[in-house]
Amino acid sequence: MIKNISNLGDAALYCDFGKNINKETNSYVIKYFDKIKQLKIENINNIIPSYNKLIISYDLNRINYKELKDLIEKIQIDQTDSEKKNILEIPICCEEPYSLDFNRLETKLKLSKKQILQNFLNKKYFCYMTGFIAGMPFLGDLNENMRTNRLETPRVKVPKGSIGITEQFANIYTFESPGGWNIIGNTPKKVFDNFNEDKPNLINPGDTVIFKEITKDEYLNYEQ
């Protein structure tokens, strides 16, 4: 539930769902997100869900902080609201040249490549949010022994399709982009389709993701 609402600048509400980052907190964020969309409240420009926050930006020409805050505070979330979310299988190739940071991860995590892969692949991931760049999913949670920091010096260019890990999270770079996550592999699957305006993102908040290892041959011959 929303613990506190404050303002982020003069044209956005900052809804805080508490300090804990877990599936339960995030599922409330997503419930609010879905509900607000469904209510089609006028003059909202954007609703941005993340782990434990919901930011709602609005058209300051037509509504102000106090008016929108009142509307949001009145919203009731039905505890049984169960959204239909998907389970998705994402192919990943962890061979050269796609697994950019295995050496670093072996040292940092004190695990062998085989153990790292096993840990990574034997896990179901929950999509907390999408963003930063178009379609990038933020997935969690990695096992405790798989958690490490970002690169000390971020890469200027992370290749498109790269799958990275940092802290308790994994992500997929939907475009070539600067970035500091530890890259363990790459997916040939199209995760963001800018020509599909109705559903550009393959993975959406609340979805479950499973990674399936493929060989370099399978990667190169992959058909969408």
Partner: protein
């Protein structure tokens, strides 16, 4: 479809098609984009009698050199821009906010913006551009919008889909006002910073770094000391947010910004000052001033009223 077009002889530094931008897509990772300086964008369209949401050509610093091929049109350039118009018989230095007739073979050479960053070119008609999610705004990072999501490139053709022939020359006297201080509201992580950092934030000048673009403006100056944590759990961003990463140098989120970020937010620029902050060129100095939410709301109303009055004059 008409056979009229511009040929891009020189594309300029960062020339893109922009309109009012696209909303309700942040949750997918797609930011607003749209014209950086909304007022100058609107004035450009109004001066050539276009719908206010028509695509305009936005340029930064050095703009494009365009050769026009086709039947007569009228153009206007807004902002603070030096440009020339070359025809078969003459070459003139153009004035911003004044419309000019352009004929087959004429060239528009947008030399530079003056002590500012962005300018706009509109003409009496419509560029033939593609739309995504209801907007033509080009977002080069996600390859979305007009021109296949790319900035203009040398030797390309810009097609024109329609020309409005019902036209009278227009001109307004307008000077882009400079403000001494950019006004901000406290950010959600204001208390992550030391008292000295806060005091410096409002007292010292910050220099706009060369590493600034449509996504963000990086500032250099006194490093702002974080006494709590230089990372937060990633969360949504909006334009105007000032994030401070571990190195203590603030970054202002601009129209093409990443939709999620993990650095503490020290402050947010008020909506009334957004059109002006984007116009600070690299190397110039910025000072911040704190205001309350209610002041920001009033200042925005006044700014919008001023914009409407300008539009109504045309």
């Amino acid at each position: 479809m008409s056979n009229n077009y511009f040929k891009v002889i020189r594309s300029g530094i960062n020339s893109t098609f922009q309109d009012k931008g696209r909303s309700n897509l942040y949750h997918l990772g797609i930011p607003f984009s749209g014209a950086m300086d909304n007022r100058n964008y609107l004035l450009a369209n109004k001066l050539v009698k276009n719908d206010l949401n028509h695509p305009a050509l936005e340029f930064a610093y050095q703009g494009p050199l365009l050769k026009y091929i086709g039947e007569k049109i009228n153009i206007v350039i807004t902002g603070d821009v030096s440009f020339t118009i070359k025809s078969k018989i003459s070459e003139i230095n153009g004035n911003c906010y004044e419309t000019y007739e352009i004929n087959d073979g004429d060239e528009i050479d947008i030399l530079s913006t003056n002590k500012s960053v962005y300018g706009y070119l509109s003409f009496s008609g419509k560029f033939d551009v593609s739309y995504q999610w209801g907007s033509c705004s080009t977002n080069t990072k996600s390859h979305i919008g007009a021109n296949n999501g790319k900035k203009l490139f040398d030797n390309q053709i810009i097609k024109i889909s329609e020309i409005n022939k019902d036209f009278t020359q227009k001109k307004i006297n307008y000077f882009n006002s400079k403000i001494e201080k950019i006004r901000v509201i406290k950010g959600t992580n204001f208390d992550y910073f030391s008292e000295i950092a806060i005091s410096n934030f409002f007292k010292k000048e910050f220099k706009v770094s060369k590493l600034s673009d449509r996504m963000g403006m990086r500032l250099e100056g006194v490093n702002l000391e974080n006494i709590n944590n230089s990372n937060i759990k990633s969360e949504g961003l909006i334009k105007g947010v000032i994030q401070v990463p571990g190195d203590g140098n603030p970054i202002i989120m601009l129209s093409d910004h990443g939709t999620i970020g993990g650095y503490p937010k020290i402050a947010v620029i008020i909506s009334a000052d957004y059109d002006r902050i984007v116009q600070f060129p690299s190397g110039s100095k910025i000072k911040f001033q704190q205001v309350e939410l209610s002041d920001a709301e009033t200042l925005f109303k006044m700014y919008e009223m001023e914009t409407q009055n300008l539009l109504n004059q045309i």
